[in-house]
Symmetry: D3
Amino acid sequence: MKHQSLNETWSRGEGAINGWCSIPSTITMEIMSQNKFDSITIDLQHGLIDYQTALNMLQVMSSTNITPIARVPWNEPGIIMKLLDAGCLGIVCPMINNKEDATKFVRATKYVPEGFRSTGPTRALMVHGGNYHDEANKNIISLAMVETEEALDNIDEIASTKSLTGIYIGPSDLSVSMGLNPGLDRTETKIVQAIDKIKMACKKHDIKVGIHCLSSSYLKEKISDGFDLVSFASDFRFFSEIVSKKIQEVRD
Amino acid sequence: MKHQSLNETWSRGEGAINGWCSIPSTITMEIMSQNKFDSITIDLQHGLIDYQTALNMLQVMSSTNITPIARVPWNEPGIIMKLLDAGCLGIVCPMINNKEDATKFVRATKYVPEGFRSTGPTRALMVHGGNYHDEANKNIISLAMVETEEALDNIDEIASTKSLTGIYIGPSDLSVSMGLNPGLDRTETKIVQAIDKIKMACKKHDIKVGIHCLSSSYLKEKISDGFDLVSFASDFRFFSEIVSKKIQEVRD
Amino acid sequence: MKHQSLNETWSRGEGAINGWCSIPSTITMEIMSQNKFDSITIDLQHGLIDYQTALNMLQVMSSTNITPIARVPWNEPGIIMKLLDAGCLGIVCPMINNKEDATKFVRATKYVPEGFRSTGPTRALMVHGGNYHDEANKNIISLAMVETEEALDNIDEIASTKSLTGIYIGPSDLSVSMGLNPGLDRTETKIVQAIDKIKMACKKHDIKVGIHCLSSSYLKEKISDGFDLVSFASDFRFFSEIVSKKIQEVRD
Amino acid sequence: MKHQSLNETWSRGEGAINGWCSIPSTITMEIMSQNKFDSITIDLQHGLIDYQTALNMLQVMSSTNITPIARVPWNEPGIIMKLLDAGCLGIVCPMINNKEDATKFVRATKYVPEGFRSTGPTRALMVHGGNYHDEANKNIISLAMVETEEALDNIDEIASTKSLTGIYIGPSDLSVSMGLNPGLDRTETKIVQAIDKIKMACKKHDIKVGIHCLSSSYLKEKISDGFDLVSFASDFRFFSEIVSKKIQEVRD
Amino acid sequence: MKHQSLNETWSRGEGAINGWCSIPSTITMEIMSQNKFDSITIDLQHGLIDYQTALNMLQVMSSTNITPIARVPWNEPGIIMKLLDAGCLGIVCPMINNKEDATKFVRATKYVPEGFRSTGPTRALMVHGGNYHDEANKNIISLAMVETEEALDNIDEIASTKSLTGIYIGPSDLSVSMGLNPGLDRTETKIVQAIDKIKMACKKHDIKVGIHCLSSSYLKEKISDGFDLVSFASDFRFFSEIVSKKIQEVRD
Amino acid sequence: MKHQSLNETWSRGEGAINGWCSIPSTITMEIMSQNKFDSITIDLQHGLIDYQTALNMLQVMSSTNITPIARVPWNEPGIIMKLLDAGCLGIVCPMINNKEDATKFVRATKYVPEGFRSTGPTRALMVHGGNYHDEANKNIISLAMVETEEALDNIDEIASTKSLTGIYIGPSDLSVSMGLNPGLDRTETKIVQAIDKIKMACKKHDIKVGIHCLSSSYLKEKISDGFDLVSFASDFRFFSEIVSKKIQEVRD
């Protein structure tokens, strides 16, 4: 398989910066991919993107060595495998609440004997090289989202899931789950402690830990804190922010 | 959240007229939405519409105050949440056969603590206003389809499902389930009695009751009968009917 | 080339009924094409349809023997030839005002020596048979729209254009051109006389004459009057009419 | 329901040749469907095709009498029923490992009383005729994929599933499941024996047996061996093969 | 016709702020249209947008009262009329170099007697009201781009074109035409003087004058200078700018 | 501007192999672009491809260094410039019959002072580098199609057109123009002589000469003959050929 930015960054022991696409457009994706992201995640859960559009966006990413990842709408093998066959090298799966969820997820991303992924990597084989089958199990990244109190309670078990690449923290759902408002870059003590607990569990089990961030400052802080992957808001938020800012600059 | 036609109609104690879209087209949707429907349902089950097209159709509906609803293909959290994030304010879920089905469905439409909907209402937040999270649980409409004999047997339990907005009767599947031919606007005694039984259970549990209708006369009758929501055939049926009628007028 | 409904109808000396598609959808087209039209015209002028969508609609028509026609946005060789290569067997060209316009149009639809159409009938060759090149010049239908006072003044010259299949009357533009309101099925004397004048010119030069109609009664009258092709409103008008009618039936 | 090529071939006791589409394009589908396939399967599992594109491809197939089939991404009722409503006359379901899987799958393809398919065959009714409901249960083809060791162990039970049309062998996954490399047209003894075992079980239970093939020679051999349905590589493989071959011819 | 933001702003004697869309996406358009632009121009010239996508973007704009405008690729009647029928209320036409160009352009936007626009305002009639035909000639905005030395020489003649709404300055092409580099917000004396000359000609002939701007400060300056319409960079530039800025914030 | 395969091949004095895409699909394009073509031409004339699809196909090509070219439907500045802005580095223009045609074409591809191309290279600037404007006039390839007897008569004048990169021979139209059947790889003396005459004129004026080929043997012969660019049938022909061949192999 070809060289990928995310693996390189991780092999240097650095935290990776992950772009986030919610807009169903090959053009906004192409603009994103002109920038120095280590990976970009196409969000098929909260993003406004479905498989056929995601496929086109993946094709655009192939002109870079940014690692293509997708977040699936739910822990369902059909869409997980379909996105891998389309060329994704990583899957983020929402709402993993226990080890059973995590195992089901990870096994959907791996060929026999580590999982039950069906073989037939149509586009993946074409763009990632002839040794795709042999290297896929080792290279495909699986990130289980921990974003509920239940998952927090089960964090040690989840983090010990065989072959799981890492845990990806969804701070907004985690906050809602704890009775707080949704939102990113949390400073409430109980959220901070929860995030820390998750990170510790990942470190203990020697797996990656990632988190969704909004501001540049929070994102940099999380890299300093030792997070392996930090996602940066989203194309949707970036665009909303700048249009709003620009119009404010001229409307007073 | 902005004012919505369906809620207004219901707050006046009237039966609401629900348009039904099976054609994957923003243009037929735009024509539909020029008319006085209280709500329009985009049918992702039997309709010829998938998520990406539904998203575009939802965008077109935003130029009106008609309440946007979607029917999902199946009781699966991924697509339910994805359509809510896209801006739907109601979900119709097919083939709810017992309380367990109903609970799983309703909980997918509600944030914690009433359910397990994941937060990240990308487009919904943009078009429905900044207080979306706070008002979503109260405002999102969940309609469980009762359309089998099994569901009929469990009607009281289904109708008592916590937070369920109402029950939506699928007369065609209900008839097939009872050994009859498919079709709408049924007059057979056992279907009429089944529909009545469902309506009574809804009234008893103080939830809404809706039904799919074909003809104008049957639809009006159902409004008189106290139904809270009556769906009117579909764009597909309307268009098929008029093209056929027009060509007959000139071909003799 | 395969048997086509329009040619058959004409070979029996009858007036043909032409469907009209303004909605960019393969589904509305498929519903249309289940009905007994002799031809269906995809409108790329006032219709909401561009080439790529028209191509898909043409593919749907291939399951019938209804003759596929397109109206081009303007008298421009690029789009005329592109639609013929896509499989159209007829072209309606708007705003033909004089013989020069008509000649330019007709020649764009014909291979050398009758015209300057470029060869390369990619899809047309596949779906219309191996002898496409030999039969295209004879079979491709060219309908020049006469819809201005200037064209009316030049009607005899236009009607005498070499290889032109016929003239297609646009009553709405013709009315506007004469200082009246737009609209179809005109009864004003001067419009009636203008239409009659055009028909006479066509009969004199032994070419076909067609007209755009709205109501069933007007359309049937025009067939009785000897028109060779009568277009029937449009999918857009049909659908708008029935949705409006249905909602009125239940809203009083 | 209209005459279908696959049923005809089977009624003559012959093995049917099944085309395979992985490319999301109505044009490559149209080229495929100009050729003498008995059926063509649109692959929504490993193929690069989602529902909305599949719908357009099904529309293109309607100009032929080739039987339209789809392979679903997973054994999930929502997409199975949606593809049937779109006009598919057969469903291939991957990863059927035991009788429970097989029963769930078959029942999703059948109306009551043989299954729980929801009625509302929007496009299917339009293109397959007014008696669709009455004939669907008898005519809809269900092919369960046997492609794991677990399935092999359960082959007799799977083959005895009520109303199942047949079993479709996935040799590549079967090989991976047995610890071998992926790939088609297998000659290893244990795969050959496994395939034979599956075929025997099908013959015993008087159901159809199909297999995915790559080369012409292997495919012909399988027809001679008594297979009822042989799939022929895919549009994706065909196109990759010829472009590669052509460029090699001129690059030396 | 319904109330439009651009006309209101102009009726108050104020300069209008025009958004600019080059990205072919209904989602970026929807984000744009949540902001206080007086008008938004869909750019079919240098933008990455063609008619069918523009149509969907126009549908999204209908949920606001922002005036929808399109820039056409070239001074060609087919696309001008097609975009007006789709619901645009203004057209920007590039590369108007003399009065003949300007007249041809303006007349394509007007019905008889002021022009030769063909009647058939399919979507425009639906969304802009029943009196569309009567009010279109008065309301449709035509903006001729002046962006070459030749046009500068002919500015007085161009500005005197009958029924022309205004002139829209393209500073980048104007600069290139004068032998300078491309770019917006020019400060070179000869460009500044050229812009001033164009503005004066517009004031003299009592027509609107607009200009394309990049920075907030330049845009505000132009409003102060009495420009009637100032375009604000583009969605493409905004998005490129913020992604680049964000990644820089975190990459050092 | 980034390194491009076509320029490299030409700088080595070799004949370049040009792929040809008529199928509107990013997937078939991606398969094509995995092969060693020097350039690939997206055919918007006889191909089944319009701008919006071509844009997506161009995005896919950006993962390679194959030079992206487009053939336009007609000699019209709007589409020529739009495709250059989308990232094409070459334009093939059909039906150039005299020097006036050729000059109009070439000037549409060049910025002032060599032409009248409008500046605003939205995607081209992003993907081809910051010095795009400065290098575009030197690098953009313009290929005028000579494919009629009239053009043959004017060959010396056409070949002397200022800034024209080369002439591209359309053997099929040329044959039709001379009263023969359409088709490639011609052996008739008068066609052979015509092709030779065109090649000589190109050599005399020191411009490139290209030709459309069908078979591998003819293509290789033309490279040996000193042609600078040889196009290889098309994706459509390749795919049709192999599907037909495969089905024949198994149907006897």
